[in-house]
Symmetry: D2
């Protein structure tokens, strides 16, 4: 069971929500509103996001979690005989218990580069696919799925998204960006993309709230409003329409008011900053990292002994057993990661 | 859009949660716990429920909503060629946008009696089914689904559940009870069932939180723990595993502490009491009700003119257009329905 | 097990195929052709059908069976949140083991009138549906499915198909006609529809071969070629693309050469004629029929004693147990039903 | 369109069926039998197979094609949250248009070695899977799928099947062998497995008829009869229950009468022998083969010029474009491949 004496860096969903989000939930508790997300809080939050991405026609829906959002969007966008292309490390390919296949669609996994799908690899795949004389017995590509940041903490560049867009237009594919941690990508030191860029390049994407300050909630944005037609029917069918939907609106109002000076970015910036302190501590100790992440997940490569020592005081995730017996671990920061906890961890790293 | 000047009796999910639930969410906000429902709050809440139903081995899972719970449980319990039997008025047959069929299973709808499935009708169906020489080209019955209270506010008796159990045992069917509003059934004046009875008669059922004081959440109980095997895998696949799962545990702790003196029953009792005041007001005005409900939903039969008059001050649901031009409406009470709002409504009824 | 001493009227698929079909299979046996239905026999047979229905652009696909055809077409035409409307007696609702639901779609069953869906009932359903304020939580109607002849042997009139078309256009629905026995409908004495009418009124329909002289095979016709886009991908996915696809082409060449003087109609006419002899024999004996069928299925209402007597010499299907203890039986004729067997049956009926 | 002047080596389903199979279809054409595979021909054919594999309790079902058989068996054997493991080159992973995913299940593709799944790779995968702390968010392995011969013409050894069995028993997995071309594996010079071995090692497998002398048909064998429970219901649901099912029985009677001296092996032996003549011709010309196949598919590596020259007279399949610009082609033999056609091809190869 749980170990209460330890400090947790195991994931970015171990605490509740940012106090300003909680305050708004409390303040609105007695209001009477319509159910199922057609209330003024949801409309208000949607408008905040429309302003941020400068897409007044974007259609926005609030769902409670990432797997739910991924499955609903992918099912909505694909025809029965189409599949979704992603990096082999993509969350939909690895950690969603087959949620996409459960909707009837193949996940077509291409090799990943530190968690990223390389546009040239995608182009290559598509060229081979359509020159294969048996392509009509194969799952047809319908959609490209990318995560930004990737599951390895790495981020996509503007150039890569431009390339994806060109490829998708050429091959009549849709582009879907999983933004479960989008805030930490957009506020990372390596990032050259704006929220507006994301909206321009992608057909659909989402701003994840669960990992950036909300109790739960993902704001799914259809940049192309035509693609959103009847998405609410599908949400209901997938069990993804929250009865007290205004809870999602209220939380996203907290996160997205005040334009670019929003709480969402503020939290994300801080998550990155705390994570980079951890990264530096490992680097200063001479401990390498599996990926060069500038976002809120860090992946130090530890010897068994280092791993065990840190495990005595901290909870973190075993990411990968390496061939040489070393262990890649994952440390995450969240909106709640305190300076004190960071200090304890850094001290422990120093003492390794 | 929404009409803020009106008082809402449209559904039982128009406000947030009971203050004691909210308080507990706030108090636990900074705690660090494991994700995905394997935290001590969930374990604690599960134990409270196990005690209440006197089933120490029951397996309990917390999901966010009713459609999600229904689809996950039904998919889990059925083989691919099996279907689920329910009353034609059953929520899964009418108001879940095909969520059950989306998992591949037919909903076999039998006639309803004021929202209830009659055991004799079920028995009849099964006798006919198995004496039909073409039954092997038909969907095999695998599961019986009932809602208590029904979608019409009516409740099942102990005798009816006993009969269902006997029939299900005879025909090797499972029995699943949708308890989205289970509290108001168990505390209704017409009820002769205990929570323990429910657990004894049903293979799986749930205590719905969304409509009885929680922000969201349904506690799915597998009375027979063997049937629960690997249900968590399915929850994840269905997008029904909340990342910050402890939110569900925390809410159900609030609702189910103190045994039978729990907040869940307290709220439910009050919902029923407020609803019966509305019922009486209609009856005293000589307005009939579509169903004889003693729970938190009431269905007065209004003339168009009465309907319009009430609509000026109140929001409520149009339930059914009757052949004579009258309109059956639905009025719901919730944990938050104030004495004042009831008074306003009763006065308006008197003035019709 | 099987009873070889008895004469069978149990179904219309108890013998092999018409000798002219078999001859063509034998004659083409050594030919080398492409697989999967892109051979010249299939193209040739498709052209014969295009000529018959006077639709040069129709897209035609050959599948092996009716359930396969129904599931593939319905899955192809519906969006995930849509369902298919049919008469409660419709084959997809009763006798396909949930094949449609297995593709994720609800079968919305409306009351049947002797196996037929009445246009006014459909209109009524749709009016109610769209005036229901909760329609957005319900399965959206996407497609109307009718069988001609119906499962009860009855046929649709031109007026009814016109009405369906008007309704479908108004509500943006597609119309799909299951023609597993289409030949016997089109050649029935009650019929006022041509194959061209069927193609004009319906978006998709099929000429069933299995029950009208072929070893197996259904020719699915998309009158509207746009709807056919990528249907082959779906056929492959559904396991409905026969490797030696030319077998289907060869059989439909046999059945559809010579325009309206085709073997398909010739066989169908004879099936009807033989069935009507049976019908008359029952009527002359004073035995009523459950439906007034003029096609190859007849449904006499027998006492238990009459049923038992006939069962000693003949195999036929128990269709329905009536409340008064009588039994409705089904007798089918096929391309192979011999005059001798008809004579034996008629004699046995006379002796009842 | 088709090129009639060329000789076809494109696949093993370009002609009809073996004359002895056709003769039996013709001879039985007028018989009246039950539909849907419960006739005496099917029972008789099943018994022939039971005798051959020495499993009197085996449950045997006849389906029309391989994709259909694969999807039905896999859907039947897996729980909703389970996936099927196979070699990346496996037919279900590449050439079935997502038929498996359409039933809701992930295909977990592991690296292939000339088309084969290596037992050590499987063991490795499973060890890693169960030592991954996040395995409960991943698709659970439920079944191992292998094709014998593989899609590359290579065959499994007895030792490999033994190893698979041990691994499957250890990890509680089922083993399913796709035998679309099983005859050519069992009669190949490299084979050390008997049909009985196959039945002993695998839970389910099939003898494919389509590619070995039948018009169509796959005989699915459940060595473990318990696993077969209710499989017929699933067949019907999948559209895989042929109405005139006796056609399958009749064909398999032709193929499997006379024990080990059966026509199935006779045809397969000849297919291999003809294919090896082609192989030798390429080798003698100094042309390498992509895989070292001893079965009825051969994969020569041709220069573009060689490819074009052969294409003028023969139809064959482009298998793979190699990095150096060369082209791997596929040549197949069938029951009908004549000595003359082989001679023409060999001459053409010599002239390259």
């Amino acid at each position: 069971m749980e170990e209460f004496s330890k400090i947790r860096f195991e994931s970015d969903y171990q605490e509740g929500c940012h106090p300003r989000v909680l305050e708004r939930i409390c303040n609105s508790n007695l209001e009477q509103t319509s159910g199922y997300g057609v209330d003024y809080h949801c409309e208000n939050a949607a408008n905040m996001i429309r302003n941020l991405i400068e897409k007044p026609d974007a259609q926005i829906f609030f769902l409670t979690g990432g797997t739910q959002a991924n499955a609903a969007v992918i099912k909505h966008l694909l025809k029965p005989y189409e599949g979704v292309i992603c990096a082999s490390s993509g969350h939909i390919n690895v950690h969603e218990s087959g949620a996409i296949e459960a909707t009837g669609h193949k996940v077509i996994a291409l090799e990943n580069s530190n968690g990223l799908l390389k546009p040239e690899l995608l182009r290559n795949y598509l060229e081979n696919f359509y020159s294969d004389p048996t392509f009509d017995h194969m799952v047809q590509p319908g959609l490209v799925y990318i995560s930004n940041p990737s599951e390895c903490g790495t981020v996509y560049s503007k150039k890569m998204l431009q390339d994806f867009r060109i490829i998708c237009d050429k091959y009549n594919l849709k582009l879907f960006l999983d933004g479960a941690r989008l805030g930490v990508a957009l506020t990372s030191s390596e990032n050259d993309l704006s929220a507006r860029d994301i909206a321009n390049f992608c057909d659909v994407f989402y701003f994840g709230g669960t990992k950036i300050g909300a109790l739960f909630g993902e704001a799914v944005v259809f940049s192309n409003p035509k693609l959103a037609e009847n998405f609410r029917f599908l949400m209901k069918q997938q069990g993804a329409l929250l009865a007290k939907g205004r809870l999602l609106g209220v939380q996203f109002e907290s996160l997205f008011e005040n334009g670019r000076e929003n709480l969402y970015y503020e939290i994300a910036l801080r998550e990155n900053a705390q994570a980079l302190k951890i990264k530096r501590a490992f680097q200063e100790k001479g401990i390498n990292l599996l990926y060069d992440s500038y976002t809120n997940q860090q992946f130090p490569i530890l010897t068994q002994s280092q791993y065990d020592k840190l495990s005595r005081k901290f909870v973190f995730e075993l990411w990968q057993r390496l061939d040489n017996g070393n262990l890649a671990a994952r440390f995450c920061t969240s909106w709640a990661t305190s300076d004190n906890n960071i200090k304890y961890l850094i001290n422990a790293i120093k003492e390794l």
